[in-house]
Amino acid sequence: MTKAELVEKVSQQINLTKKQTEVVVNTVFQSITESLAQGKKVELRGFGSFRVRSRNARVGRNPKSGARVEVPAKKVPFFQAGKELRELVDGNEFDEEIEMEMD
C-alpha cells in the first residue's frame, strides 16, 4: 500500500476529500518525525513504538576497494511492532500451510 492508497481509504472513512485527508496523513507522519528528531519516543497503543537508536562512529570498509572509510555516528529510527500487530502479521500464511505443531 502506498501513501496515496492510504489517503484514499482513509478519506472514504472520515468523509473528507483526498486533498484534506492527505493533509491529515502528512500531519501525523510529520508529527512522528518531529518527535523522533527531538529525541522522543512515540508509543502508539495497539500499533507499536518508534524510537531512535544511536550508532557510534566506526571505521568501515568500502566493500569494492577495501579502503577504510570513517562511518560517522548517526541516529537511526526504528520501530517495534506491538503485540497485536506482530500477531496480526504473523497470521499471514503466504499461501503456505503451516502444519508444524509444538509438542
Binding site: 500500500m1 502506498t2 501513501k3 492510504l6 481509504k9 482513509v10 472513512q13 472520515i14 485527508t21 493533509v23 491529515v24 496523513v25 502528512n26 500531519t27 501525523v28 507522519f29 508529527s31 512522528i32 518525525t33 518531529e34 518527535s35 523522533l36 528528531a37 527531538q38 529525541g39 522522543k40 519516543k41 512515540v42 508509543e43 502508539l44 497503543r45 495497539g46 500499533f47 531512535v52 548517526k74 541516529k75 537511526v76 529510527p77 526504528f78 520501530f79 511492532a81 497485536e84 500487530l85 506482530r86 496480526l88 502479521v89 504473523d90 497470521g91 499471514n92 503466504f94 503456505e96 503451516i98 508444524m100 509444538m102
Partner: protein, 107 residues
C-alpha cells in the same frame, strides 16, 4: 500532554492534528485511529506499506530453522513466521540526524 517527558502517545498526535488541521478533538482522534487501522489492515492482508517521506513497513517471511536454546543447549525448531521490518526514508533519517538541540558535536 501530561505524559512522561520524552514519550509521545496517541493523544499527543491527536493534539497535533487538532491544532494544525482545524478538526474537533473527536474528529482528530477518529482520523488518527483510522490511519493506524488502515495500515494494520494492509499489513494483515500481507501487503507492504510504503509512506513516502516517512518509512516503509515491510513483511518478511522467515523459514523454519533449527536452533538451540542457548541456556540448555537443547535443540529446538523455530517455526516459520512472518515478521515486520521497518525502513526509515531518507527524509526521516535526515530529520533524526539534524540534531538542533544536541550538544554532542566536538568542541
Amino acid at each position: 500532554m501530561a505524559h512522561e517527558q520524552g514519550t509521545v502517545v496517541k493523544a499527543d498526535l491527536v493534539d497535533h492534528v487538532y491544532e494544525r488541521v482545524g478538526f474537533t478533538r473527536s474528529e482528530a482522534l477518529n482520523a488518527v485511529e483510522v490511519i493506524l487501522e488502515e495500515i494494520k489492515t494492509a499489513l494483515g492482508r500481507g501487503e507492504n506499506v510504503r509512506i513516502v517521506g516517512f518509512a516503509s513497513f515491510n513483511l518478511r517471511h522467515k523459514n523454519a530453522r533449527r536452533a538451540r536454546n542457548p541456556k540448555t543447549g537443547e535443540p529446538i525448531t523455530i517455526q516459520p513466521r512472518t515478521v515486520l521490518t521497518f525502513k526509515p526514508s531518507r527524509h526521516l533519517l535526515e530529520a533524526t540526524n539534524r540534531s538542533p538541540h544536541e550538544s554532542d558535536h566536538t568542541g
